[in-house]
């Protein structure tokens, strides 16, 4: 079983399944892909994220050895001999996915719009929704909390009226069943540090102070602005954009002590992509250090500086506040020994990477450990980075520590290799 259908879990599932073993892939959300599905283009090659992700999600969706269970979570785990018995709980989608053809008519006809978590609050979705048009599985779920049928006692029901195959099932109940598996790969990924906790950075109040994933959505062709850079407050094209690195990271006092590892790189990418879209615009990046240790990474950052003329300012930002129609950023440039203030049109906070919510809960269920940063603890940080310490349970992806896509994929494959080695030894 693989828990978490981000790129790391997908990789693990595919590697194991392609070796001939059955895989159950459990994903909390209605469809797989994880954060990669929200990204625009990826450093350092600027490949379109969806384009390199979709072949993999589609392969998972069609794979005869993979049982894909989305909208589901692990309820309980018991070991039985060499095996693990896992109780899985599936939330009611209120749509019979066996019947549903994924035609999308229901979403089109549903009259109600709410803000979308997938768009990180800067875009909307219908009350009956899929995460994206490329979703795998491409089957919708009804958001009960906002659904007029549920909240107003049977009113509306537009989706049910229009569904050509009568797949809408308002009576659907949650399902709980048990799976018996030989090993588990835990690949539950990450979340971002909430902006509300960065009170000196305006605490998430101002619409034009956004986090990095929100900016990915602005950059994405499939995002709420169809890839045009428009600031949330008034839709204007921002002429001066400030990126604030280490927002919450490397801050043992009030944030997290560790370096989030990927924000230096994705900030360079975002600044560069911004310049590709807004040629006459100016991008500023406040940083403490630039950590660009991967293959081709330093060259990529240099390209952002030299070719795209992104101005890097070495110093941490102290305060961000609204001023007239702008957002004032007070920072420092320690290299020149100056304090700097920039009246920005848009501010992007490179907020810290946190282990995904629910990691603590899973830790209890699986009997694995969590380190002082909140990430899953490996059996040995140097020589056993994939093992959890509990036999048969392996770690992959950003749940074990912040990492970028190539590393998450590599670790997914590594976890698969561990599982296969375990199975081989048991035969």
């Amino acid at each position: 079983m693989v828990i978490g259908g981000g790129i790391s879990g997908i990789q693990a599932a595919l590697d194991i399944a392609n070796s001939g073993y059955e895989v159950v892939l459990v994903e909390r959300l209605p469809s797989i892909g994880g954060h990669m599905a929200q990204l625009s283009e990826t450093f350092p090659t600027l490949d379109c994220s969806q384009c390199i992700l979709t072949p993999r999600t589609v392969e998972v969706g069609h794979h005869e050895k993979i049982k894909l269970v989305t909208y589901s979570e692990v309820e309980e785990v018991r070991s039985q001999g060499d095996d693990l018995r896992v109780k899985v709980r599936r939330k009611p989608a209120y749509v019979d996915w066996e019947r549903c053809t994924g035609c999308g008519l229901c979403q089109e006809k549903c009259p109600w719009r709410v803000t979308s978590d997938f768009e990180r609050g800067i875009g909307e979705r219908k009350v009956i929704y899929t995460l994206s048009p490329q979703a795998v599985p491409n089957k919708p779920v009804i958001d009960r909390e906002h659904c007029v049928y549920f909240q107003k006692g049977g009113k509306c029901g537009a989706c049910a009226k229009f569904c050509p195959v009568e797949a809408i099932d308002f009576q659907q109940k949650e399902e709980i069943w048990e799976e018996q598996v030989g090993a588990i790969v835990v690949a539950t990924g990450y979340d971002l540090y909430p902006m509300e906790r960065l009170s000196e950075y305006d605490g998430g109040h101002h619409p034009d102070v956004i986090d990095s994933l929100q900016f990915e959505r602005l950059l994405s062709a499939s995002g709420p602005t169809a890839g045009e850079i428009r600031r949330p407050s008034d839709g204007a094209v921002p002429k001066e954009v400030v990126f604030v690195q280490c927002a919450g990271s490397r801050d043992p006092e009030r944030g997290v002590a560790y370096c989030s590892q990927i924000c230096c790189m994705y900030t360079a990418k975002q600044a560069l992509l911004y310049k590709h879209k807004v040629h006459e615009g100016q991008a500023y990046v406040f940083y403490i250090d630039i950590r660009a240790g991967g293959k081709g990474y330093e060259e990529f950052v240099q390209r952002a500086m030299e070719e795209e003329r992104v101005l890097y300012l070495r110093g941490k930002v102290s305060k961000i506040f609204p001023q007239n129609s702008k957002v004032m950023v007070w920072g420092a440039d320690t290299l020149s020994g100056k304090r700097v203030e920039i009246a920005a049109d848009l501010v992007i906070l490179a907020t810290a990477i946190l282990p995904s919510q629910g990691a603590w809960d899973l830790k209890e269920k699986l009997g694995i450990k969590i380190d002082e940063s909140g990430f899953y603890e490996e059996a040995h940080p140097q020589v056993r980075p994939i093992e959890s310490g509990v036999p048969g349970i392996y770690l992959a992806g950003a749940g074990q520590g912040p990492k970028d896509i190539p590393e998450a994929v590599a670790q997914g494959s590594a976890a698969a290799a561990k599982v296969l080695a375990l199975f081989a030894s048991e035969v």
């Binding site: 009170s199 605490g203 609204p322 001023q323 004032m328």
Partner: protein, 286 residues
Amino acid sequence: MRHLYFPGCTLSTKAKGFAASGEASARALGIDLVELSQWNCCGATFPLAMDNLLALVAPTRILLNAQKEGDHLVALCSICYHVLKRTNRLLREEADKREKINLFIEEEYRGEVRVFHLLGLLRDEIGFETLSQRVQKRFQGLKVAPYYGCLLLRPFQEIGLDDPEEPRILDDFLASLGCEVVEFSHKTECCGSYLTMNSSEVTRELSHAILRSALASGAQAVVTSCPLCQFNLDYRQGEMAAHYPGFAQIPVLYFTQLLGIALGIESDTFGLADHHVDPRPLLREV
């Protein structure tokens, strides 16, 4: 309810109006502020040098006197509150320093007294909702800028009154009096503090930045709980006007002055006439 109260030097002399309005308002709300029978100056700064324990003796004596008469102590002045609160924490939590200070004062004090700011009492004991119901004259439409300054809030770990970046207490207090509270960027910026003693231009600049931000947000008055802030923001407006043509003056009030008036108390003793920028025309208007 009876509350031991430390007025401090400034409230007994230059800021009598702050004291009078605070005491009268508290009384009207059932908070009986009983002045410590014996007190000295707190030192007006919390000593930042680790080897300067001597400077902690003065505030320790105040706390010790309070312990003899009760179990907690209320201050109105942000700086007194800051000094007493931090000293008290140090005496409670840092045993080695406590021992040395106790040797100086030749008595035993272990930080037992609880230190309050009147704003904290209003929020936590009376409640702003209740307060709002007690208001007789609502300041309908009066636009005020709640100015917190530094020492009422920082360091949060030691003071703990409110979030140092996005404080609410003064905002909520003023809203309960019916004021229209404006959001402004400089509510926790420094007014210059004691730099006023030998860097008057810097103080003018810092205070001016605060007032400019308040004015830009449409405020008609600035409200504070610190006599040093009040002085820097009020007294230096003459220089600001000379230095920045077109600078519009703005009254700087103590929170207790507005409280007293709102509760319907006669404001004769509130020292309103002592301000450099006279708040009375504005107050008459509303």
